[in-house]
């Protein structure tokens, strides 16, 4: 029997994790992060800071008979996740807040808390597999490719990974998890999956970014890659490289469809181009977290450049001096700066980092 801290979101996945570990006889301690003022997020004056998810998590813990705590993480979440979200847009890049959240309030802080509480492990409801390999813990894709969340865990350090447990990683699908929830008598068994970004429940992230970084909402021009001005925009935060929607009359250049090819934060310009011009075979990755010993020679692997895509073949060269990895794609793809590049050897995650804008010189945000 081990004492295990379980990060409980109030959803079915982490509830099942807590239930399974308790059933196995472990000394389970539940913790739910209060990450933002729910009442303020839904813009209801006087509403409780805790959303329904916190109440659901507490009900599940009561049902399981395990201690449960609500951890106030509003400040750190606002600074390191929401702040980074807005700052990334203001730089003309597209953030991945779920990775920042896992990296900071979840794994960095909860692993530390778990140690302080005398826990032997931290378990979460993520769909990924932690495999004990010959050189320590390895991160692998979940058995269910539709649910696999390994992309969002790529910033987890090797130390954190050694301490982590992902009991759902081997489940064939979500339905199987719901069956367990029902067997355990958990009221959340039929709860719908969470959607979108948790701190923008209405899905309108641009107003949040505007509030934090008004510069990201300043108007500017939509220009063709050849220099022609095609229109105007009201804020670079609304655009992501590869995007085709929301361009208005600038969507078409004659009978040629245009897409966002670049976001120039300094000049507040959105550069548009035909799809073919967006594709590249080269990408630069910074802030790299290796889950293997950092490779001294180029490695052939597969990479994911965004959360929802199948891995593509690539060769990655790591430069420890600059802290940057150079990615050569076998087939051209679209690189959206700010998104994560996660490297795989078949099922195993080798490491990951964040895509840099082409030609960006970056020494301040290199690997930690």
């Amino acid at each position: 029997m081990a004492r295990i801290l379980v990060a409980m979101s109030g959803g079915v996945d982490s509830s099942v994790v807590a239930g399974l570990l308790a059933e196995e006889g472990h000394d389970v301690v539940g913790a739910t992060l209060q990450l933002y003022d729910h009442g303020a997020a839904i813009q209801k004056k006087g509403a409780c800071c805790a959303g329904q998810d916190i109440h659901d998590a507490r009900d599940v813990a009561d049902r399981l008979g395990i201690p449960h705590y609500v951890l106030d993480r509003e400040q750190v979440f606002r600074r390191e996740v929401i702040g980074d979200f807005a700052d990334t847009y203001a730089r003309g890049e597209t953030p991945v807040p779920c990775i920042r959240c896992n990296q900071t309030v979840k794994f960095r802080d909860l692993v530390a808390l778990a140690h302080d509480l005398g826990c032997d492990a931290l378990a979460t409801g993520h769909y990924a597999r932690r495999v004990d390999g010959p050189h320590g813990a390895e991160l692998h894709r979940a058995a269910d490719p539709a649910r696999d969340q390994s992309y969002f865990l790529a910033a987890t350090t090797r130390e954190q990974l050694a301490f982590a447990r992902f009991p759902l990683g081997g489940y064939p699908d979500k339905a199987a998890v719901r069956v367990v929830a029902a067997r355990l008598g958990l009221a959340v068994a039929d709860k719908p999956d969470s959607q979108d970004i948790c701190f923008v429940p209405e899905g309108r992230y641009d107003s949040l970014v505007t509030k934090l970084r008004p510069d990201a909402a300043a108007p500017g021009e939509l220009v063709h890659a050849d220099g022609r001005v095609l229109g105007a925009h009201d804020g670079i935060a609304r655009y992501t490289v590869g995007q085709g929607r929301g361009l208005g009359a600038a969507s078409w250049d004659g009978d040629e469809r245009l897409y966002v090819a670049g976001v120039e934060a300094g000049r507040r310009r959105i550069v548009l181009a035909p799809r073919g011009a967006l594709e590249t075979t080269e990408a630069t990755v910074g802030e790299v977290n290796w889950l293997i010993d950092p490779p001294v020679a180029p490695i052939r692997c597969s990479v994911k450049l965004r959360a929802r895509e199948v891995p593509r073949a690539a060769t990655v060269s790591w430069d420890a001096g600059t802290g940057l990895a150079r990615v050569l794609l076998e087939a051209p793809g679209i690189v959206a700066p700010g998104q994560a590049c996660v490297m795989y050897d078949r099922e195993r995650v080798l490491g990951g980092g964040f895509l840099r804008a082409a030609g960006a010189v970056d020494s301040t945000r290199s690997a930690a």
Binding site: A50, Y69, G118
Partner: protein, 364 residues
């Protein structure tokens, strides 16, 4: 949850056996105190006996005791009902029951030891017209006692009303004289949850928050919760200041033992007059949240900061007002119950030492 050590009396005191017996007896009384008939009269008798007992225990006349649903409502009734035409001045370390009932109030600063800054109170009273001042007799997080008699003197000089939130002090320390109204809570002195009272100086007549059927002399509508009130009265009789004083040596021994084993530990408010049962214990660099959880997992129940319905450990406005800065977030509250076991010192100090050892190990 019967095993373990509960040192969180300022959240709620364990029910006293006298109170339990009174609640059970009152549950069998069928009448409504407002009814004309014999059953009503019997209920009325019990209610008025309780009113008399509260007045006898805490001072004042029985007819000036207004029963409420608890301390929060008693404070709200005073702040809403006595503030017409008056500015409201409240201490910076007051309970949310007060702060949120007086959102437009001027906050009065406290000194580093947690006691109200009397010079600031004097200046605030001198600044403009009639005022209603609200101060707590004892602070819930530190146990620090405000110099209520001195504040009452100032209020008297400027014609201000003084409402005292005596929720934590009642039953634990002699209540200061000079207040125009006092708020009490049953469960903070070993009675049941669900009853409280506002004690008024003769002649004061607050505007009711709930008019209802005119119960409580028109000052608080709604049928009185007789079992809770009967338990309240029984607990008030049992909660003597002398009995509470026995807790001070236990509290002092805990502080001495912690100071001996952890030189970095501090006790905010220790230099001021305090309740005998309360200690704020500051362990620099260790979030109160971690401390409270680690102690709970070890079977020792304490708390920290402001209680929140979400259950999270909130930031302490009390310790912030005392100028503790970041250390405010590293302070827990240990509050001995009326029936604190003899071995509280050894058990608490052992658990606290183990907790400190665990969190220091990671830091090392």
């Amino acid at each position: 949850m019967t095993t373990g050590l509960s040192l969180d009396a300022n959240a709620t005191e364990p029910l006293r056996p006298e109170a339990r017996a009174a609640v059970l007896a009152a549950l069998d009384l069928p009448g409504n105190p407002s009814s004309v008939h014999a059953e009503g009269r019997a209920a009325r008798r019990l209610l008025e006996d309780a009113r008399g007992a509260i007045a006898a225990r805490f001072g004042g006349r029985a007819q000036d005791v207004v029963f409420t649903a608890g301390g929060t409502e008693a404070n709200a009734l005073a702040l809403h009902g006595l503030s017409a035409g008056r500015r409201v001045l409240v201490g910076a370390t007051e309970h949310p029951a007060v702060l949120r009932a007086a959102p437009g109030a001027t906050l009065l600063p406290v000194r580093a030891d947690g006691t109200i800054d009397l010079a600031a109170l004097d200046a605030a009273l001198a600044a403009a017209g009639p005022a209603l001042v609200c101060l707590m007799a004892a602070n819930n997080e530190t146990g620090v006692l405000h110099p209520i008699a001195d504040a009452a003197g100032l209020c008297g000089r400027y014609g201000a009303l003084l409402h005292v939130d005596a929720v934590q002090a009642a039953g634990r320390a002699p209540l200061p004289a000079g207040a125009d109204s006092l708020a009490l809570s049953a469960h903070k002195l070993g009675g049941p949850k669900g009853a409280g009272a506002l004690l008024l100086r003769p002649g004061l007549d607050p505007t009711p928050l709930i008019a209802g059927g005119g119960q409580e002399r028109g000052r608080r509508g709604g049928t009185e919760p007789l079992p809770a009130i009967a338990g309240f009265a029984a607990a008030a009789r049992a909660a003597t200041d002398q009995a509470a004083a026995r807790l001070a040596p236990i509290r002092d021994a805990i502080e001495a033992a912690i100071a001996a084993l952890a030189p970095e530990a501090r006790f905010p408010g220790q230099g001021a007059p305090r309740l005998p049962n309360t200690s704020a214990i500051l362990l620099p660099g260790v979030p109160a949240e971690t401390q409270v959880i680690a102690l709970d997992l070890a079977g020792v129940r304490v708390s920290a900061g402001a209680a929140c319905s979400s259950g999270k450990v909130g930031a302490s406005h009390v310790l912030a007002a005392m100028g503790l800065g970041g250390d405010a977030a590293c302070t827990i509250r240990m509050s001995l119950p009326w029936n604190a076991p003899e071995d509280s010192v050894e058990r608490f100090v052992a658990a606290w030492a183990a907790m400190r050892e665990q969190v220091t190990r990671r830091a090392a």
